[in-house]
Amino acid sequence: MRTDLRRISGAQLVTTLAVTRVFSLFTYVPRQGSVSGQVTLLSIPLSVAVCWLLLTPFLRMRKTCGPDLLVECGRLGKPFSAVAVLLFLGACLLQVAGSCSHFAFFMTSSVYQTASREIFIGVLLVTGGYAAALGLEAFSRAGSLLFAFALLVMGLMLAALLPEIRLSQLYSPLAEGVEPLVRSLARTTAQNVELILFVLLLSRCRPGHDKRYLAGLLGITALLYEIFTFLTLTVLGDYSRMRLFPLHTLATVAEASVLGRMDLLHILLWSAVGFLRVTLYLYGAATCLHRLAKRLSMGMAVAICAFLTGVMALAIPIGVWDVASPGTLAVLSVLVAGFPLAVLAKKRFSKEESAQ
């Protein structure tokens, strides 16, 4: 197992994170609670602006302090550093467990209804853990290829669904006032948990193009979400309320002349994306664990994280894994904006002290 840190290209990081973000699209329902899907259509581009604002301190920190957030947190003292690493570790572990849980739920409710979820969770963690132990550069290349495959499948689906679009399903997102928009904006922003990995892994890319990478990640994911929200609203209409997985339903509605129903492609894509997401977050978690216990090899750190997340995925019921909860938004804000702000504040304070 290699533990040295090699650089990856910014494009690889962006495409890998974008395809990982696609995972949440599969269990995504545009209608969120009492907020209609129309509102979500507007809240997606607004959430891009909010995410950009959240990441501004981090970008500033990279420019003025140093490239690695956790290293910079280390300069603020050991306890502060430990808290930061533990929070990042916890966030990554929760994402792995949640992904495994969602993946197993989909497979046992839609594909293999008589299979047990333990098998899917086990297989996903073993394969994901092995790939994570190989290192970021290995699976980020796979991520780029998967991104191209995902775009192909989504392009095919979009083309097949064009004749099914009914624009009469759309109406003004502000028809019910501004309050649903604010709620939807909070939820949509909270779904951008991949920003945690972006903050953790950006130091592995060539410096100098941070804004371009961030714009790429936010732009691609917002575009994909916008397209599928639009399709869910205009193709499925109110029928989407009856379905657990609207994207899977869209795939069954989409029929290409040669390929027939596209739900098989969807299942194939989701399995691959699930594998990549688990791999990426396991890698993120193992990196954090490795920082806490330097003697631990990367392979062992991955194994420990995989075991912990396996237990969590089996023990915690599926309903708990709501990626878009207000709690997630709070944690996301602390991790991607709070810690960089603390680093910047400390630097400014030190400067003022030395000036005096």
């Binding site: 594909v111 293999y112 209804q113 297989v123 092995y130 290349r141 009469s168 759309l170 109406y171 109110d238």
Partner: protein, 400 residues
């Protein structure tokens, strides 16, 4: 990367360990008919294609009908599997037929069962059958026109001509789930024509199949020519039949509804002199707008249609084209008005006009959405139809 590749390879190889069902052990269900019997139990009739075994001379899959009765649909499918010794596979099912009695009581539990079955696509066609739906499936054993594909062909042709609405599970539930929509399905009827010598009689009630009569070899003079008829639309409320639209009213709705096809529909008119002009019409453009007038919605329906004249008499006046266009416009207008009278005036909204109001008069919609039926029945409609004779037969062109 190589090691990662080997993991994928291993997974591919291991995929053979997942329990699978060989094709020969599967019965591909092409169509399902569900009827409610008098005693309250369900009867399910399945049209299945089974792979021909090696010893069989038939090269194509064998098409058979399986009928089972029971208390719930899961039990019925299970019974069918046991009786055939094969797993019933619903992934290839293209059509669900519902018997009249079931449609009068409640079709929602039945459709929800199929909706919850992941193998069934939401785009599956659903139709209500006059009388017993299972008879249609059993007729398909001997006559291709009653196979799933044959019935779907009839449906598609009727939809192109405007005599049938879009009748898929997706549209049904989309309307059912919306607060204001009126779900609808196409109504099918099997007509049995029986001719004996030169005289002929028609049994409209339908339900005896050609197979039965043709097997009566002793009666040489008896021939049958059963056919499937699309007899309009049924509107539903809470899963029960609420209203019935005849084919003309159905076509009236298709002229202006979103995604109504109207690719080629017969449009014959009679001149004042009594001459009949037969034509095929197709929809060029449609637009429905809504605005408020005297605090109630006024819907303006604009239709532009083009027609191709196929039959016309000799010795027509010079302005025959203008006359024909006017008559065609009147005919389309009267069909639309008849459809509006039968639906909107009763508070039914099969065309999703509430969505139009939500788009174009949002304030009014959100203020009145809980009493949509009332204000729809009080709405005004303005129908503007424009017809243009685009093609004429060779004779007519010479006359011009």
């Amino acid at each position: 990367m190589k090691r990662l590749g080997s993991v994928f390879l291993l997974l591919l190889v291991l995929s053979g360990c997942i329990p699978t069902v060989p094709l020969n052990d599967r019965a591909m269900v092409r169509a399902v008919a569900v009827d409610l019997l008098e005693d309250g139990t369900y009867q399910m009739t399945l049209q299945v294609n089974e792979a021909a075994d090696g010893g069989s001379q038939a090269s194509s899959p064998e098409q058979t009908a399986i009928t089972e009765t029971g208390r719930d649909l899961t039990e019925l499918l299970s019974k069918a599997s046991i009786s055939r010794g094969k797993q019933m596979f619903l992934g290839s099912t293209r059509l669900i037929l519902l018997g009249e009695r079931l449609a009068e009581k409640d079709i929602l539990p039945t459709l929800r069962f199929f909706n919850a079955t992941q193998q069934v696509a939401p785009t599956i066609a659903v139709a209500v059958v006059t009388g017993e739906a299972g008879e249609l499936i059993r007729a398909g054993e001997k006559a291709d026109q009653f196979s799933a594909d044959g019935i779907l062909d009839v449906l598609h042709k009727a939809q192109e001509a405007g005599y049938a609405p879009a009748s898929r599970m997706l549209e049904f539930f989309s309307q059912e789930e919306s607060q204001d929509g009126t779900p609808q399905l196409v109504l099918l009827e099997m007509e049995r024509h029986q001719s004996e010598d030169s005289s002929s009689k028609t049994e409209k009630d339908a339900v005896k199949v050609s197979a039965e009569t043709s097997s009566q070899e002793g009666e040489k003079t008896t021939r049958t020519a059963d056919k499937l008829r699309v007899s309009g639309t049924v509107l539903f409320q809470s899963g029960q039949i609420a209203a019935h639209l005849d084919p003309t009213q159905t076509r009236g709705l298709q002229w202006f509804r979103e995604r109504g096809r109207m690719k080629s529909t017969p449009l014959s008119v009679e001149l004042p002199e009594g001459d009949l002009i037969a034509a095929k019409a197709y929809l060029e453009r449609r637009r429905t707008r809504v605005r408020l007038e005297n605090d109630r919605p006024l819907f303006t329906i604009q239709i532009e249609a083009k027609t191709a004249i196929l039959e016309l008499p000799e010795d027509l006046e010079a302005d025959w084209k203008a006359q024909v266009e006017t008559l065609q416009e009147q005919l389309i207008t009267s069909e639309i008005q008849a459809a509006l009278e039968a639906t909107m005036r009763e508070g039914w909204d099969p065309c999703g006009l509430s969505r139009l109001v939500r788009q174009q008069e949002a304030g009014y919609y959100w203020d009145h959405r809980n009493e949509w039926e009332n204000w729809l029945s009080q709405s005004a409609f303005q129908v503007e139809v424009s017809c243009q004779v685009a093609h004429t037969s060779g004779t007519a062109q010479q006359r011009e």
